[in-house]
């Protein structure tokens, strides 16, 4: 359950930095005074920021800063004790992850969460499930249609397959179509996971350390894909990343978390020179 702690207009909020004054339909998602705790442990304290349509937003911070928790709050996996999330102009109180997905929030995970026993193709196809109507009645109809297969079900399947093939080409993973993802190297798994997220045609794409454990050229590839996604599909992206250089190249705007609190935000260049940030990162980045 959520308690309203702020009656103020989000963009009148001084802490939203440059975002302030932007007209509100330019803002895709705004996080207001979110606090999250597990038992006694505080994961997030009074964090607020906006994500504007079409930008690439980086969330950075040392380990245990609460970055992943932030993403989990955004896509409804964790429910904050305080604060609100406003997505596409509507305030959201409780929300189930699958509803978030239905409303166009897709994500990848810090440690890959693919469906190990399924093939690459099937994994990406599951991404399409978010787009399907899931009323109980529709499901029952589907059961009959799909068990007969021929006819509408087949046509539909083919349509989906074509769309997914588009993504497969885009991410250059044609050769591993039929391979069970369990057998793929880590880097490729990350890519498949991205593909699965893209299959949902998201408005907001949350990437949790998309380049963790990758070598240089894999990182370059991944960076390219992220930029392409952002430019070609105009998808808004919020990503968590440790590698500062990557962050500097990719992101339009950066939020810095430390010990669950927002210590700074701004353009990459500004953040880089912010003494608070340097202090937090002392010896880290």
């Amino acid at each position: 359950m959520t308690i309203e702690v702020s009656e103020r207009e989000p963009h009148a909020d001084p802490v939203s930095g440059p975002a302030a004054g932007q007209d509100s339909n330019d803002i895709l998602l705004s996080v207001e005074h979110v606090s999250l705790a597990f038992g006694g442990v505080k994961a997030l304290t009074d964090v607020s920021f906006d994500i504007r349509r079409g930008e690439i937003r980086a969330i950075i911070g040392p380990n245990g800063a609460g970055k992943t928790s932030m993403l989990n709050v955004i896509n409804g996996f964790y429910h904050p004790q305080q604060g609100t999330i406003t997505y596409k102009g509507e305030k959201r109180s409780q929300m189930k992850p699958h509803d978030a997905a239905k409303q166009g929030i897709a994500r990848t995970f810090q440690n890959v969460a693919l469906f190990k026993q399924m093939s690459t193709l099937d994994n990406i196809m599951t991404g399409r499930l978010a787009k399907m109507p899931d009323s109980a009645w529709n499901k029952i109809v589907q059961v009959f249609a799909q068990s007969i297969y021929l006819g509408p079900a087949k046509a539909f399947e083919m349509k989906e397959r074509e769309f997914v093939e588009g993504i497969i080409d885009f991410l250059e993973i044609q050769p591993i179509r039929k391979t069970p993802v369990g057998r793929l190297p880590y880097g490729l798994q990350k890519r498949v996971e991205l593909a699965r997220a893209l299959a949902a045609e998201p408005d907001l794409l949350l990437l949790d350390e998309p380049m963790a454990g990758m070598n240089l050229e894999e990182k370059e590839d991944m960076s390219r894909f992220i930029l392409d996604v952002n430019q070609q599909y105009g998808t808004t992206i919020a990503l968590i990343e440790h590698d500062m250089s990557v962050v500097m190249d990719l992101s339009d705007f950066v939020v810095v978390l430390d010990h669950g609190e927002k210590i700074s935000e701004g353009l990459p260049s500004e953040v880089q020179s912010d003494p608070v940030v340097l202090k937090a990162y002392l010896g880290v980045g």
Partner: protein
């Protein structure tokens, strides 16, 4: 050498998505069906129909049902016996109270009724997982059997509490009860199983099947990418129970003809069917058949080999049979934990390369 896909180029996604992408497999399936429908009826005798083939088919269908729930959706269930009983008793009530309803519909409706019951007992699966769920499904097993055994209405108040299916016809051919020719009962069972098995195969490779497998492989991730967990699980329970229910109805109508609740108890049905899908292969329709073959036929063959073949004492044979059967289960699990279906796959992959392994 003979089993190659080289030269078979897929020109459309449809071809690539087909039931059996490789030509040889299609021919193999076709051949199997031809043999099953045309050759077997000519050569098999009553013993083979009644003691080997029909039970094999009935349990194969039940195994498919459980495999949908456990193998594809990852929900472990030990309630199979209870659900089969529901199917059988529904069929009995319908045939005796609505004599004009065609047996084919009786069997299918029995499945639908069972599906409804299945949904009901699937509800706990939202919160309960793994072995806890498995043992929870035992509640269904015991409760259902108790109800069917306790209330006379289900057995039309026969004092003995056991049910007997009256003779019924399809196209003027008697297919139920002892009055039906074994071959007739075999053929109708085979038809049901063939159609429903194909349907199941289609279902599990479509979007619904994928949503099930997603839940199985990682339910948390599945929910985050937009799959409703409860709805998906309940759907699996419903479809699975439908298959199990139909199997139960066929168990009564086309195989044994009479039954009482003991016939469906834990050790007679629920466990064996679970063995079938594990030995045969979780998440494989073919595996359900292989598993059913293993569990229903191996004991029979062992006994016959010992008693008929080696002229052993019936009792000693039985003991040895139990021991060997148990060892075989362990042995197969060690050799290939993913079941006979995987073993079969490996053989096929070998065949593709044969005779030039590299």
């Amino acid at each position: 050498m003979f089993y190659r896909e080289t030269g078979q180029f897929k020109t459309s996604y449809a071809a690539d998505q087909a039931l059996l992408p490789i030509a040889q497999d299609r021919y193999a399936l076709l051949a199997t069906l031809v043999i099953a429908f045309l050759v077997v009826p000519l050569v098999a005798n009553e013993y083979w129909f009644q003691a080997v083939l029909i039970p094999f088919l009935v349990f194969a269908l039940a195994a498919i049902g459980l495999n949908i729930l456990t193998g594809y959706c990852g929900q472990l269930s030990l309630g199979t016996g209870g659900f089969m009983a529901v199917g059988a008793y529904s069929a009995y009530k319908m045939t005796t109270n609505l004599p004009d309803l065609n047996i084919v519909f009786v069997v299918l409706i029995s499945g639908v009724i069972t599906a409804a019951v299945g949904i009901l007992f699937g509800l706990p699966s939202l919160r309960i997982k793994g072995f806890y769920l498995a043992v929870a499904t035992l509640a269904a097993q015991f409760f259902l059997l108790w109800v069917l055994n306790k209330f006379g209405w289900f057995v039309n108040y026969s004092p003995s509490g056991s049910i007997a299916i009256p003779p019924r016809q399809v196209f003027d051919v008697t297919v139920t009860s002892a009055h039906a020719a074994p071959v007739a009962r075999y053929l109708i069972t085979l038809s049901f199983v063939t159609v429903l098995a194909l349907a199941a195969k289609n279902l599990v490779r479509g979007s619904i099947g994928r949503s099930w497998m997603a839940i199985r492989d990682m339910d948390v991730a599945a929910e985050i990418i937009g799959i409703k967990p409860l709805q998906t699980k309940l759907l699996a329970f419903a479809v699975s129970s439908f298959y199990v229910g139909v199997a139960g109805a066929m168990f009564l109508c086309f195989w044994l003809g009479t039954a009482e609740t003991e016939a469906f108890d834990l050790l007679n049905v629920s466990f064996p069917v679970l063995f079938m899908i594990i030995i045969g292969g979780l998440g494989s329709i073919l595996g359900s058949f292989l598993g059913s073959a293993f569990i229903t036929l191996v004991p029979i063959f062992l006994t016959n080999a010992f008693v008929g073949g080696l002229g052993m004492q019936a009792v000693t044979a039985k003991h040895l049979e139990i021991i060997i059967f148990g060892s075989m289960i362990i042995f197969f699990l060690i050799v290939e934990p993913h079941g006979l279906a995987r073993l079969w796959q490996i053989m096929k992959e070998k065949l593709r390369l044969w005779p030039f392994p590299y």
